[in-house]
Each structure stands twice: as C-alpha cells, then as structure tokens.
Amino acid sequence: MNWRAVKAIYIFEMTRTFRTLLQSIVSPVISTSLYFVVFGTAIGSRINAIDGVDYGAFIVPGLIMLTLLTQSIANASFGIYFPKFSGTIYEVLSAPVSYLEVVLSYVGAAATKSIMIGLIILATASMFVSLRIDHPVFMLLFLVLTAVTFSLFGFIIGIWADGFEKLQLIPLLVVTPLTFLGGSFYSIDMLPPFWQTVSLFNPVVYLVSGFRWSFFSTADVGVGVSLAMTLAFLTACLAIVAWIFRTGYRLKT
C-alpha cells in the first residue's frame, strides 16, 4: 500500500474542505437548523408524538440522514469531478497508486467531512430538542456506513458526469425525492398500506429506519434488515467502482 499517497490525497481534500469552511460546513448546519425551527418547533409542536417520541426529536435522525446523504454525494462527486474537469487528474493517474488507494483517499475524505457535518447537526439538534441515543455504537455504525456508501455513490457520479449539470442531476432528481419520501419526517406506518409497500423499494427507508432505531429503539423495518440493505448498497457501489477502474471508464481514454 502506498499509504503516503493515501495521506497526501486525504489531506489535500480535507484542506479543501477547511478552506471552503463556510460553504462546506456552515451552510448545511444553517439549513438543517432552519428545518428544526420550521418542522420541529413551529409545526412540530402541533403534531402528536410518534411511537412515543416527541415529533421534534423524531425528525432528528431523518434530518441527519438527509444531510449525510446529500453531503456525501456532493463532496465525493465534486472531489473527483473537479480534477477531471481541470485536468489535474493526470497526476493521480500517472502516480504509483492503486485504485483502492484512490478510492480510499477520496471517499475517505468525503465521508469524513459528511460525518463531521452529521455530528455537528446532532449537536445543533440537541440544543433545540431533548434527545436520547439508546444504541450509540449502532448510531455511529449507521453514520459511518451511510457516509461511506453514499460517498462511494457520489464518487461514481463524479466519474460518470461530464458536465456540472450531470453532477447535479442525480442528487436533484433521485436522491432528494428518495430522501424526503424515505421517512425522514414521518414514520412509514403513517402511510396507506399501498404506499407502505412502495416505500420498501426505497433504500433510504432502511437507512433512516436503522438510524432512528439507534436513537429511540423504534423502527419501520427491523434493524437487521436495515443493516443488511445498507451493506448491500455498499457492496453494489464497490462493485461499480471496481469496474470503473478496471476499464478506465471516463478516467482513461
């Protein structure tokens, strides 16, 4: 393993994050705080507790997941797309680094950043609502697994995209709707039976459900199923990344 290369890329990416601190960290925290003000405090006070959990607290895991997914995708896709766009990717391609090392460093940096944001939002949320975390180890596990999985997904989008428009396309048209419809703001038990079944095809449901279980021990689907689905999505992303590097898809002409 060329650990020095992994470290070099990782630090390079993290430096970029801290250089653009306002855009990278402050803006997601502000937008999430606004969700708390609107959904948690203003509207939430008129909504009954769900599964014995106060609505303001109930949406916290969903909101963290929402930010975690969008941030992981945005960070990782931009991180690999920009060198492709500017041409500086030549250096990584001509360096003695393996594909695993490239993925590890870019995806690792993107995931680190979104985990940081996730934890900051958790801290921010605890200022608005009283929270309890029943299974902290699982909470961290879901946080890390989701960040890594969706950073991988973002990495794939970044390689696939050949313009800034495409970079935004999947997050906007696929990920955001899936997240909003994935039970971030409600329990899928609240839906009519037909839509409950439809929801089970939405991978985000499993992430939000598992993550919420680690807070309040209540879940839409079993925690084992949530974990298995997250791992399945992770494996699928890894397989696609492996294929990309084997063929040089959109990286090497």
Binding site: N2, R4, A5, A8, I11, G87, Y90, L93, P96, K252
Partner: protein, 308 residues
C-alpha cells in the same frame, strides 16, 4: 545496455475509431535526451500518455527499466515524472503545498530540503506561499516542472515544455534540461519546434499520423544538414556533364541551364575552388551562382509530406 523505456508494437485506437498510434516501436536509452518531433495531432501526447499510464493502450507492450507498465505499474510509474502540455494546476493551492503533495502522491517521504532546492533552482522560492492561480504562465510551467521533479524521477517527460513561453524562459528551460541530464535523468521531450530538438536532443524521433517514421542520432541528421548545394546558372545550356567534371558528381537541372554541386560545408575542403577552376578549363561559363542548405525543418517537412 537495456533500454530504460521499451515500446513494442504499441497501437492506440480511440473509441471514436481514430487511430492515434500505429504499431510504434521505440527504445529510449538511459541518460539521453530524446526529442519526439511531429506536427500537431501526430500522436506525441498519446504516446507519452500511454507510457505514463494516462491512456489505455489498445495493444502492445511497454516496459520502463524492465518493469511492465501494467503488471508492475508501481515500479514503472515511480521512476517517471511528467510535465503535461496543458497548464493544469490546482489553482487554489500554494506552490509549496502542491509540490509537497506531488511528492507524497508518489509515495516518497517528506523532504522539505529537497523541495526547497527544486523551488530555488526553478526561481520559484519567492513564490512558495503564493496561490498557484496568482502565478504567471511561465511560473505555472515551472511549477509543473517542480511537481514532476518532486519525487526525484529517473525519467522526465516534457510535453511541449516551451510552447507559449518567451525566449528567455525557453533558454532557462533548456539549461535546466541539460543540468538534469548531467545528474543522469533520461529526458523525453516533445516539441514541434525543430530548433528545440536541434539544440537539446541526443536523438530525434519523428512521428506523423501515429507512425514513428524516423529515429536517428541528431549528429547523423546534422550531417545531412551539413550538406550544402551550389547552383550555377549557366550562360549556355549543357546536354550533359562533361567527362572531365565527372568526379564532382554534378547534376544538371533546369533543362541544362543549371549545374548543381553538393558538398559538405563542414569538410576542410569543400572542392568549390577546384570545381570553379575546372569549369573554367572546360570552357563552361556561368552568369550567377547561389548556395543553399537544407535545414532540419526541410528534412522534417519532406519526411512528413512524403508519407502523406
């Protein structure tokens, strides 16, 4: 001696169907400066990109110091520094940070003293804390060279190193390349400036439309270059060259109105004086004369045109 780079039957066809490289065979010797000469779109950059791992070859085999660039890519790539043609930089990084990043990327332990020396050699030390975006074009080019040198490569690829740089910087660049060669670094540069190849290279390869049409010692090419022609415009046309002048291997041109004598301008005796005396003896008079020298540029243009 084993070549430091060996390219065998290398072909590259892009997905568009464009054949960028057609069965290239090339050996680069350790420690030499090899100039790859060719017009735009000839395949120079594709050839370099393939050796460096940026372009996937369609077929063929490349080894760097005996290491296959696919099977043993780490060993092969560790030896290579690449300065691409385009000024692609991490615009918002500092010079120091970005050069140090390159060293890390190639798996080398941090060495601030070395980075300092490289930046000083390239007159970039004053700018070490400057963001790359604030550098001038010439400085950016030197910055990219600093990045390529940061991991102490044994082979340096310079893709059009002096494209768009002023005369002074071009001279600096040439001096730098010579200094590098003295330390044992093998240098492969691409250029479409004949002058550059002439000034720098030990050997010259000419590539056109994906084919390597000539690889020759520069000295050999210069010998051809050293040949000059004397053309005598005669007062009266000749049917044939008189037997007395046969030793000069003269050619008749312009319907017998011109006599052409090819000689080596570098030789101690060119034979011009003797020829003129013998012409006088033979009663051949001329009204005018001119000399011409074929340049590397002409050789190159002819080579490229002949293959078109």
């Amino acid at each position: 001696m084993q070549p430091i780079i060996s390219v065998k039957d290398l072909c590259k066809t892009y997905s568009s169907g464009f054949e960028a490289l057609k069965s290239i065979n090339l050996d680069v010797r350790k420690g030499e400066i090899f100039a790859l000469l060719g017009p735009n779109g000839a395949g120079k950059t594709t050839l370099i990109g393939t050796i460096c791992g940026i372009v996937n070859p369609t077929s063929g085999k490349i080894t760097v110091a005996g290491h296959d660039i696919k099977a043993d890519y780490r060993a092969a790539r560790s030896m290579i520094g690449l300065v691409p043609q385009e000024l692609t930089t991490n615009a918002f990084e500092t010079v120091w940070g970005d050069v140090s990043f390159s060293r890390g990327l190639f798996g080398r332990k941090a060495n601030p003293a070395l980075i300092e020396r490289i930046l000083r050699d390239l007159s970039l030390w004053d700018k070490k804390d400057a963001k790359i975006i604030t550098l001038s074009g010439g400085m950016k080019r030197r910055h990219m060279i600093a990045k390529a040198l940061s991991h102490e490569p044994e082979i340096l690829f310079l893709d059009e190193p002096t494209a768009g740089v002023d005369v002074e910087l071009r001279r600096d660049m040439w001096n730098l390349v010579r200094t590098m060669r003295e330390t044992g670094v093998t240098i492969i540069l691409t250029t479409h400036y004949i002058e550059e190849a002439e000034e720098m290279a030990d050997r010259i390869g000419v590539i056109n439309k994906g084919e390597l049409i000539l690889v020759e010692e520069k000295a050999e090419l210069m010998r051809n270059l050293g040949k000059k022609q004397l053309t005598l415009h005669l007062q009266a046309p000749l049917q044939e060259v008189p037997a007395a002048l046969r030793d000069y291997q003269l050619e008749l041109a312009g319907d017998g109105n011109d006599l052409v004598f090819t000689y080596d301008s570098r030789g101690e005796r060119t034979g011009i004086t003797a020829l003129l005396a013998d012409l006088g003896d033979a009663g051949i008079r001329f009204k005018d004369l001119q000399t011409s020298q074929s340049s590397l540029e002409e050789i190159f243009v002819n080579l490229v045109r002949d293959r078109t």
